[in-house]
Symmetry: C3
Subunit: 404 residues, 3 copies
Amino acid sequence: MADEPTPDEPAHDEPSHDEPSHDAPGPERSGNAVTRARRFLLSGSGWPYMLVPFIPIAIFLELNHAEAAIIFGAAAAGVVPTAALMGRATEELAHRSGPGIGGLLNVTFGNAPEMIIAIFALNAGLQEVVKASLIGSILGNILLVMGLAMLVGGLKKPFQTFNPTAASVQSSMLLLAAVALVMPTIFQLVSGGGLPEVGEERVDFGGDLETMSLIVAFILLGSYVAGLVFSLKSHRALFNPTSEAEEHVDEPWTIKTSVIVLACAGIAVGVMSEILVGSISEASETIGLSEFFVGLIVVAIVGNAAEHWVAIYFAAKDKMDLAVNISIGSSAQIALFVAPVLVLLSFVVGPNPMALVFNGFELGAVFLAILIAVHVTHDGESTWYEGLQLLAVYAVLGVVFFFA
Amino acid sequence: MADEPTPDEPAHDEPSHDEPSHDAPGPERSGNAVTRARRFLLSGSGWPYMLVPFIPIAIFLELNHAEAAIIFGAAAAGVVPTAALMGRATEELAHRSGPGIGGLLNVTFGNAPEMIIAIFALNAGLQEVVKASLIGSILGNILLVMGLAMLVGGLKKPFQTFNPTAASVQSSMLLLAAVALVMPTIFQLVSGGGLPEVGEERVDFGGDLETMSLIVAFILLGSYVAGLVFSLKSHRALFNPTSEAEEHVDEPWTIKTSVIVLACAGIAVGVMSEILVGSISEASETIGLSEFFVGLIVVAIVGNAAEHWVAIYFAAKDKMDLAVNISIGSSAQIALFVAPVLVLLSFVVGPNPMALVFNGFELGAVFLAILIAVHVTHDGESTWYEGLQLLAVYAVLGVVFFFA
Amino acid sequence: MADEPTPDEPAHDEPSHDEPSHDAPGPERSGNAVTRARRFLLSGSGWPYMLVPFIPIAIFLELNHAEAAIIFGAAAAGVVPTAALMGRATEELAHRSGPGIGGLLNVTFGNAPEMIIAIFALNAGLQEVVKASLIGSILGNILLVMGLAMLVGGLKKPFQTFNPTAASVQSSMLLLAAVALVMPTIFQLVSGGGLPEVGEERVDFGGDLETMSLIVAFILLGSYVAGLVFSLKSHRALFNPTSEAEEHVDEPWTIKTSVIVLACAGIAVGVMSEILVGSISEASETIGLSEFFVGLIVVAIVGNAAEHWVAIYFAAKDKMDLAVNISIGSSAQIALFVAPVLVLLSFVVGPNPMALVFNGFELGAVFLAILIAVHVTHDGESTWYEGLQLLAVYAVLGVVFFFA
């Protein structure tokens, strides 16, 4: 969870045959800028930047009041490179600041794109979309990302291994999150109030549930901070199994560059999110998908696209520890950090506080997904078939959400 | 899942003291046919054939319109030897065809009796009985069969071991199935429609749920086929830990014999099933049990009787890998192969498509049973007490179903 | 589960530096009675006796009809030393009777205080309070006690280990209990009757559920007895990993002393319980907490206080096997022994039989807690962060119960 290095680093110290090694002396290294740029764009971490043109396109379409579905598509594509750039800048800054602060930065900014999107949606009063995209991010990370990672990695090697203890710590975070997500909903059910409908934008659950959600949010945040201490301090070794092997070969960015890039990327994510959120309702109507499906599947995939790619990239390199770390760790982070922060913010931003009450689909899906994540990671071993099963679970959920 | 050898084979290469070794030279081997037949009927795999007389008895009773409860009992007893014979013929055919096709045959025909019974019930419009017997087969395999196997095996040896990775693959199939069974039911609940009542014969859930069930059935079947590739091809070694030890000593059947026996046994199963299903409603009324209880407990036990015996037999021989393989594998097969095939067939056979919506008892029971199966198999070790606990869970479920 | 030695024993054979060794020759050993008493009261097992004065205080307040909240507080404090004394006397008696009978005594009287409190509540017709305190005891043992034990133990040592097989046996008992607790409630839901409300004192669920609860209670008790055979006979070694190390150094009590102390302590627990239960309704009103919260959190903590202390004490001494044994074992004992015995007793004591139907909070909480307990104990390893997570789950549940 703490460390999510961008995939270009390990590529350098493991010269592979399909792409020329960067630190080899001679012409490859001194190739002209165009060649290097092309190579970067086609490499593991570079492809998201090929979507950069969608940033101005989305802004242009928005200003000219184009059709909502097209704006939505362009903005969705535009989020990906800005999210990737934020990830890269965070990584560089983290590298400069030493492991302690670095880990903290990584963690804090790691889910920044999702959080920025969510804050815009919160401000627009789309609380049910926010909750759907939180659940969607957790599901996407556990099932889609980990599934693809295990499938891709497993096609090359019969059994891939990872540290089961580190995975277990993170999956127990998910179980804690499950309790925090399920119990307030049970409260709502037992009190005789129904769960939110799928079509609704926002529900006022009353003071008790708001206060309860606030306290539960603080407990989750406290547990999250303790988790940082655990993974960055007391049990560092568990989460950095290969840290010494990852040497930075490219010239690192200066702190100033990193901060400026981070700020610019953050603003760009914000602009794209504003456009994305503004077009959700109309776009989903045009495409014929429910707002719920769009929030749960589409927004979740877009907001996590860069991260997703990295996890699969590492799995293909047989660095399953990192891949599992990223997929389960990201989910745990959304459940224990992003969700409670959004609950706190909802007391300030938007029309009324957001209670941690989920609808039946979200609850069932996230609970079952967490159980399965706990199961497939408990033995520290994965195969392509386990990956495929995770994808099958994601597909089943997607089908049910489609009809919801 | 792939390999379910009949229990007579291992008996041959491990001469035991309570029955004379078959490959010993001299008079035992050349004993007259009556002695050999008697010995076979009392051996591990022979006892089901003692129930052969019930086949003509059931037909006779049916034709003479005897009381339903008596017909039901005779047909139930008559299913057992025909199912056993199908299993044997499949085994022989599989042995002839080499491991790849053999495994496929084994798997395809392994649950044929259950499927034949279910198709007759589907045709009679008894969809709720079909779903009950599917759930009942899963519960019976996980709890009753694995419970008895662990109990019987554990009485001889303090700890029995099996490959936890193989068990884990199959129990994750069960978790996938749990998602596929639970989510459409949540859809039905959230849409405001109630779950099916226990007493109902058939419920029309409308087009959305039928389409959803169809797509989910395809996903399950796809995952099942991938599972075959996994267990028969890419990770064969995992599922055939003792294959070299199992030598065929009896003269094997020819392919022609096998096919003819398979066809005849299949027809016999069909006839028995037709009689069985035809008498369920009236019989359950006479005995004072609900149709639900009969479908969930009685039909499930009868349809799996031969398989059950084999698993327990292997456990007693300390071949726990095979016993767990059969019990969890059979459940996984029912959930990922038989159930979706029946959903597909229901679009052709019977009055209206069968949606994957279960009642509260079935859902709660199958979900809890799967969780427990995952738990008891995760460490690759079993004791008699674990077996007893599985049986206690089955007993608790049985009591609750009785009152349902 | 079988062996819960009081914490003073191991202290003796491991001379520690912060308190003088008892078996050292010379003045420390022969120190005057006051010094020894003071040292005992401040030692691991002695502190509960500092609460002895609350016993007469509670009786005095009760007789003088003091305010209910004050009586409740005094009686709660008074239960602790009497429970501790019962534990000690049981331990002495067990030590005298050899491992077989000793284990049985330990187990039978180990949860005697909870059971005595519950019988008084049952007699007063407070069935919902009884069920709440049963669930509360299970939650308290799994989450609060095991959480504190893992946290305290983990602060001294990065990884603490325990026997995962022994823990697994006990956590599968909890899963069996989960089935027994969940299924009758599903029955009630499916039959169209609602679950009990949080504020209710007692609900009559009708004959079916009472009979069902009775049979389920017998199955649980049978499974519990089998568990005794397993842990005291067939697989003793699994549960007594350190038994040879625990030598009794103090002069042991005679059987006569033990029996008399046990009887007196039992009577004292009874008197305190009568006072405690009698003041619950009024006290909870005065303090502003619901009767439900008081039963679930306060009564559960008070009734298990002595046990709780012991588990944490052992964890701090890095005897994690014993700590996990006590916390999970106690929960299993409550679910498989105390709860069914109370169901049986309810057919004799109190206004009407108590059915095993729980409200939504209890069901959700106990089910999730059991899943988490299974997860954190499956690898035989614990860290301070796992402990903290268990405490966070307990806190989340506490918050939700507070608002219930």
